[in-house]
Amino acid sequence: MADETMSAHGLHAQAGAMESAWEGGGSPYAVGSKKLGMWLFIVSDAITFSALLVAYSYVRVASSLWPRPFESASIINATVMTGVLLSSSLTMVMAVRESKRDAVSKTVVWLLATAAGGILFDILHIREWLGLIHEGVRLFANPWGTPLFGAAFFSLTGLHMTHVTIGVVYLIVVALGFRRSKYSAEDVEVSGLYWHFVDLVWMFIFPLVYLMSAKLA
């Protein structure tokens, strides 16, 4: 009898241990699996962008004839783009806040405002691209110097622009789904993580690609 109580107690203690975070039970990081999945994707995507940025910086520092095509107008354009992206991160934070309070229509408005920021960013960036292409920049040739400039510029900013465009679609899908209660506040938060990451990557591309190739009086 006493033994039985003991073993029952022992079993109970074991079950308790199973639930502890480091024993593989429960939720060790105290975040949902969607959020953890997005974080893991972000870390791997960050490594992709880092590889490109480090390779670009290597070539940039090693080249004495690196083109400096960005005059004041381009730098102002890129600064405005940076402001738009940073502000869209702020509207995203607002969307996450409202979604946690279950304020559905406010969440949808902030999400769509964030998507609009992304669209504005894309439009301004495509204008910059067309300007450079018009001046004769190609992937492996340009009128000014190191031929690799085009490949470095278009691949870095192109990969980022792809992320922004995917983000815009993602945010619109989440906004519409949240309105129909198909998606939860957690889904809004996870889409926010992605959007902030896209903003974060631009914080490296803008200074390294634009400001390091600026020609200013």
């Binding site: 105290a30 940039r60 520092v61 940076t82 502000s87 806040r97």
Partner: protein, 104 residues
């Protein structure tokens, strides 16, 4: 009472996000100002990288909320990422050497 405490918390977090957003804009302004100063390429790269890392940390900590997550999550994600990125710089000094050894 708990509702007003909730409201105070909401208000505090809104203020915090505004402060982070303004600091990010100010740091961007500093970077653009430096571009107009025409610094030497290596020095410029180091200053811009430093400022960008500060901006990235602000975004990760506050906008992406990582500062308020459990330490085990931070320890799983960040050290590995930082290690990989640092290792990418292993051959970087060669770029300066290439530049300096090149016939001008």
């Amino acid at each position: 009472m708990s509702e007003s405490a909730e409201q105070a918390h909401q208000e505090a977090s809104r203020k915090l996000f505004m402060v982070v957003w303004v600091s990010l804009l100010v740091l961007t302004g500093v970077e653009v100002f430096l571009a107009y100063e025409n610094l030497e390429v290596k020095l410029m790269l180091i200053i811009l990288m430093t400022l960008s890392i500060v901006k990235a940390s602000l975004i990760i900590s506050y906008f992406m909320h990582l500062r308020f997550e459990r330490t085990s999550l931070v320890l799983t994600l960040m050290p590995a990422l930082v290690f990989v990125i640092v290792m990418m710089f292993m051959a970087f000094p060669d770029s300066v050497r290439l530049y300096e050894m090149k016939p001008k």
